[in-house]
Point group: C2
Chain length 310, copies 2
């Protein structure tokens, strides 16, 4: 297989380095992984680190085509890429991408981020999720949730990513699970298949003022424990259900879905399972989505970047 037939899709995040060697159909040929996240790479050393990591593939395939989306193109990454304003098509993203040539002859394409200027009070932003959305496919209307530290809800229509909003669900869950009073009492990680997780989602969705808002409902993880109704092993599951459920509640209240709608969930298997369980609890049907959306999207954008006429 010659160099022109393979592409390296880079997932170079804050705390890990992952690279996927794929063919033109996004079939995975090989992968490589290390703990050398962008956080641990000194300025000016990115090219050398990448070159070393891809040496075996370069030996087999010659100079490589590489494409990178996400945090590697951020202020704390290698090159700070701009944010393309939504609505945006894959062609818009490709047009704003930037390709650099590396010392060994590899060509690296950075995908830009996406911004939604309708957000108040500041434009909302994503880096990486736009590529997952392209990989999911923009060929039919869809509401897509991309769970994570900063979870995104996005609307696809007319072949473009029309708009999106961020929910800091993962960050709120992690900081409370690891640093609040819970951290000292809880004895098990969250499990979205547990009754406690479903009770958390149910509490998030409960109407009426007796339960209060989010700041009051969060206290129920503690009062349930004090009342002997929530066991230490259930606390993180309950918190997870409550916080993810609250994301769905806020999404519903700000017009992202109505009961009975269909959504798609795109991301890592574990989080897709958590969000699918929550969506079904909220009477949503969940559309199947490819597990390799990030790779498919990166491949598509890099093809468009190289051949704008396609």
């Amino acid at each position: 297989m010659s160099a022109s037939d393979v592409t390296v899709v880079l997932d170079w995040g804050t705390s890990s380095f992952r690279a996927f060697l794929v063919d033109g159909n996004a079939t995975l040929l090989d992968s490589s992984e290390s703990a050398q996240g962008i956080q641990s790479v000194p300025a000016g050393e990115h090219a050398r680190v990448l070159s070393d990591a891809l040496k075996p593939w370069r030996g087999r395939h010659g100079a490589l085509k590489i494409v990178a989306a996400g945090m590697i193109g951020s202020r704390n990454g290698w090159i700070e890429m701009p944010y393309v304003p939504a609505p945006a098509t894959p062609i818009d993203l490709a047009a704003a991408s930037r390709t650099i040539e590396l010392p060994e002859g590899d060509r690296l394409t950075f995908v830009p981020g996406l911004t939604d200027r309708t957000a108040y009070p500041f434009p909302d932003v994503m880096r990486g999720e736009e590529t997952q959305l392209v990989g999911f496919g923009l060929d039919r209307p869809a509401t897509v949730v991309l769970p994570g530290t900063h979870s995104k809800w996005a609307r696809i229509e007319d072949g473009a990513i029309q708009c999106f909003r961020t929910f800091v669900t993962g960050e709120v869950f992690a900081t409370l699970a690891n640093h609040s009073f819970l951290a000292k009492v809880a004895t098990a990680p969250a499990d979205h298949r547990s009754a406690a997780f479903r009770e958390g989602v149910s509490l998030a969705m409960a109407d009426g003022t007796e339960a209060g808002g989010l700041l009051t409902r969060l206290f129920a993880v503690r009062t349930g424990w004090l009342a002997g109704k929530v066991q230490p092993a259930e606390m993180k599951s309950r918190l997870s259900g409550l916080v993810v459920g609250w994301e769905f509640r806020e999404a519903r209240d700000t017009g992202w879905f109505r009961k009975g709608d269909k959504i798609a969930v795109v991301g890592d298997d574990d989080l897709v399972a958590v969000y699918t369980a929550t969506a079904e609890f909220c009477d949503l049907s969940v559309e199947a989505a490819p597990a390799d959306a990030a790779i498919r999207g990166a491949l598509r954008i890099s093809e468009l970047a190289r051949h704008p006429a396609e």
Copy 2:
């Protein structure tokens, strides 16, 4: 002054020990402080630690009357005191208190906690704030906010604490300020006198769906920084205004106040200032409250416990 004229009010919390020597009018005669919180006292050692700490006062005044509210009477404290159900009067609290005699002849009265069984899905609880409320005074209707890690809103009517709800505002602020992405970027502590704090409160109170719910608005601390509109030194002030403002929003939405109402804020000076600023932003007038409500309340409950006929 004989032993019968003075009382020791104990504020023995998780991470600090404080004791106040007061006369029958709650006038402060002396105080004592150490870092020996209940967390660091082995089971069975509380009496000895307390005895050592109060030795100078015992020398001067003989065997002491001591009263303790709050976490020292919790599951992780010295003795686990029950929760009295609301509505509760000072007499109800005194009747459920418990007095033990210590080896040196001191008599220590533990104040019970308070529970509100109308909370959903589990009874809400407070420990210590019921004593502050008694010290604030239950002789006229009032809505009282007691800010803290677990902030309380309480309603006083007919000489009793009628009901209350907890908001985990302080815990959410602290965990996000110290452990989220903010912790790495922010360069200054929160300042409630800053424009950034007021902007945070304003964002919490903003209507319309463009801003999203709390999980989306929290992201604006980051997007404002990315957009160059929020400086690193302003980030914690903005977060503080947003989270405290959100507490007020949830309190308003669950019926705790309407525009133009009067509330009181009881607690430590710093937090009283933060909550007073927020209340005024929300068009509330703020009633003056005694700074020594905790001492006054403890004294009152211990007098009632010793002389139930009063």
